[in-house]
């Protein structure tokens, strides 16, 4: 049997619980309203509700929603890029679509090499900075702030902007592209690596310190073994991103396939654009697939050994 009058502690709990529930509901309502308002304002500022005037076939001019009225143009553009492919002459048609394949293949190779070298350089810089940039590992506050700000600055500038700067310094060619992507990758990877470092178990580190280990030795033995699987995983992910970056970076003269995209666009060679798009798509898909396989193997391998 339940007692008729609950104890003071139980009544107090019920009052607290009711208050907590209504506080939570109020907070939820406020956040949903704020979120919806922010979406609406952004859409309005970015021109989603703009209108335009169009001529109807009857000669009448009406005002209509711009996004809807302009949509057919996207179709027109895509239509122009479609190659002529007939089943009976597929070989020659494909050959005509990819008519510049020797140049494109060479530039594709260059694109991948840019991404590879840029990833390598980015990893070196990011790994070195990820220790002083981790709140729990930094030897002093000054170094923490300096390395964090440095990483922030270099990753805030988009790699395309770095490419423009480096093309100005080192001239047109892949060198500028490698440096641009490497410096941006350093910033992004440095942030990710330092966050991995901040989530480690500090006990092994203390074990090394208690045995007389220096700061570098504490990092080498206490931190690196814990973070290495994550570091490899993020590095492969970054390589995929860098391949995408290096395929467009040639647009500003920094090497790789991007320069062909620019040429095709300025000469209005729409079919070349679709051919280049197919090449980049296939490359990115293949690299994503391979690196994902590799990442899973590393994770699986780690789990087996753990």
């Amino acid at each position: 049997m339940i007692t008729a009058s609950p104890s003071l502690a139980v009544r107090q709990f019920e009052a607290d619980y009711r208050r907590q529930r209504s506080d939570a509901r109020r907070l939820q309502l406020i956040s949903v309203t704020l979120f919806a308002t922010a979406v609406f304002i952004s859409a309005w500022a970015d021109g989603f509700f703009d209108t335009t005037e169009v001529n109807l076939p009857s000669g009448e001019r009406i005002t209509t929603w711009k996004l809807w009225a302009s949509l057919p143009r996207l179709g027109d553009y895509l239509y122009k890029t479609l190659p002529v492919l007939r089943l009976e002459t597929l070989g020659p048609d494909l050959a005509e679509w990819f008519w510049r394949w020797p140049v494109w293949l060479e530039l594709l190779g260059e694109t991948i090499l840019i991404a590879y070298l840029a990833t390598f350089l980015g990893v070196l810089g990011a790994f070195a900075l990820s220790f002083p940039a981790a709140r729990n590992l930094s030897p002093n506050g000054w170094l923490l702030v300096a390395s964090r700000r440095y990483l922030e600055i270099i990753r805030t500038v988009p790699d395309l902007v770095w490419a423009l700067i480096f093309v100005f310094c080192f001239g047109v060619g892949p060198l500028a592209g490698v440096l641009a992507i490497a410096i941006h990758a350093t910033g992004s990877l440095g942030k990710l690596y330092s966050e991995v470092n901040e989530n480690i178990d500090m006990r092994p580190l203390e074990g090394v310190k208690a045995s007389g280990g220096s700061w570098f030795q504490q990092m080498r033995y206490g931190v690196v073994p814990q973070v290495i699987p994550n570091v490899i995983s993020y590095t492969l992910l970054r390589f995929e991103i860098n391949v995408r970056s290096s395929s467009i970076i040639g647009y500003v003269g920094a090497g790789g396939l991007g320069q062909e995209i620019r040429t095709a666009m300025s000469l209005q060679e729409y079919r070349d654009l679709s051919a280049l798009f197919v090449i980049i798509l296939v490359t990115v898909v293949v690299i994503d697939f391979l690196s994902e396989k590799l990442r899973h193997r590393i994770i699986g391998f780690e789990n087996l050994r753990a």
Binding site: R203, P204, E206, G207, V208, K209, A210, S211, G212, G213, S214, F216, Q217, R220, Y221, G222, P225, Q226, R305, A306
Partner: protein, 273 residues
């Protein structure tokens, strides 16, 4: 001889170690008891210099340890090995490398980054592992070992540091009674055979009585008792732990985690099982 002179450590308002003066003869095995938060861990960390004292001095063999810096400090830490409650091993490295970390203070930048240890050091590590019956596990990852084995790896690592003092911070608090006994036996053996001074924090009174020739009790950062196990009477225990809110005096058998105390009731239970 290890001497502490009015050693103090404050964290904000809390006086974790409050004016501790002690002298510990070389070769003693000393148990430090007291309830949680009494300052036992902080005291050991101060001796190893993992924590810097707010004031006071630590002298070892006539040398002021509190003034040491950089390389001298690292060599001091090596000569006063620390064993932790949670073992603090590098779980993803093999047992042998974990033991070799005990030699780290004697290595420069390049050799330690390359994980390069000399043959003598490896032999030293294997001998240490052999003393703790862990040679078959030498190439296994430390993380795959049981808690008791990991703690013995930590002791082997402490041994290759060739320490003058060994500090053990609640070394058996995370272990079952059988492993706790093995670990305490290993510490006693090291104390007797190698003549290494051992300071061990314990929260089970009967373990302290069974293994330590001298017991120091702390409360609120201060030393409240310093003597032999025989001098530790129920009245003194009451004073050290405080029994506010308890119906009876502390029964050592209830708090015990080991088989070793012949006095305690639960050791008879273990024998019966």
């Amino acid at each position: 001889m290890l001497e502490l002179f009015s050693l103090k450590k404050t964290f904000g308002q809390t006086r974790a170690v409050d004016d501790v003066t002690l002298s510990i003869e070389a070769g003693q095995m000393v148990g430090i008891i007291g309830r949680s938060g009494a300052g036992k861990s902080t005291l050991l960390r101060l001796v190893n210099r993992l924590t810097d004292p707010t004031s006071g001095t630590i002298m070892f063999e006539g040398r002021d340890v509190t003034k040491l810096k950089a390389r001298e400090l690292r060599l001091w830490r090596a000569s006063c090995a620390m064993v932790f409650q949670q073992f603090n091993l590098v779980e993803r490295m093999d047992v042998l490398t974990n033991v070799l970390i005990g030699r780290i203070a004697h290595h420069g930048f390049l050799s330690s980054m390359a994980r390069h240890f000399t043959d003598e050091e490896k032999a030293m590590a294997i001998r240490a592992l052999e003393r703790l019956d862990l040679v078959p596990q030498a190439l296994q990852r430390a993380g795959t070992l049981s808690g008791g084995q990991q703690q013995r790896v930590a002791i082997a690592k402490a041994l290759v540091q060739k320490p003058k003092i060994m500090l053990a911070d609640e070394p058996i608090a995370s272990l079952d009674p059988a492993n706790a006994t093995r670990v305490m036996d290993a510490l006693r053996k090291i104390n007797r055979e190698d003549g290494i001074t051992i300071l061990v924090n314990l929260h089970t009174l009967d373990t302290a009585r069974a293994y330590c020739e001298r017991i120091i009790a702390m409360r609120d950062g201060q030393v409240r008792f310093d003597g032999t196990p025989h001098q530790l009477t129920p009245e003194r225990i009451h004073e050290i732990y405080g029994t506010e809110g308890l119906d009876e005096d502390i029964d050592e058998a209830v708090t015990s985690t080991s088989f070793v105390s012949g006095r305690s009731a639960n050791s008879r239970v273990y024998e019966a099982v």
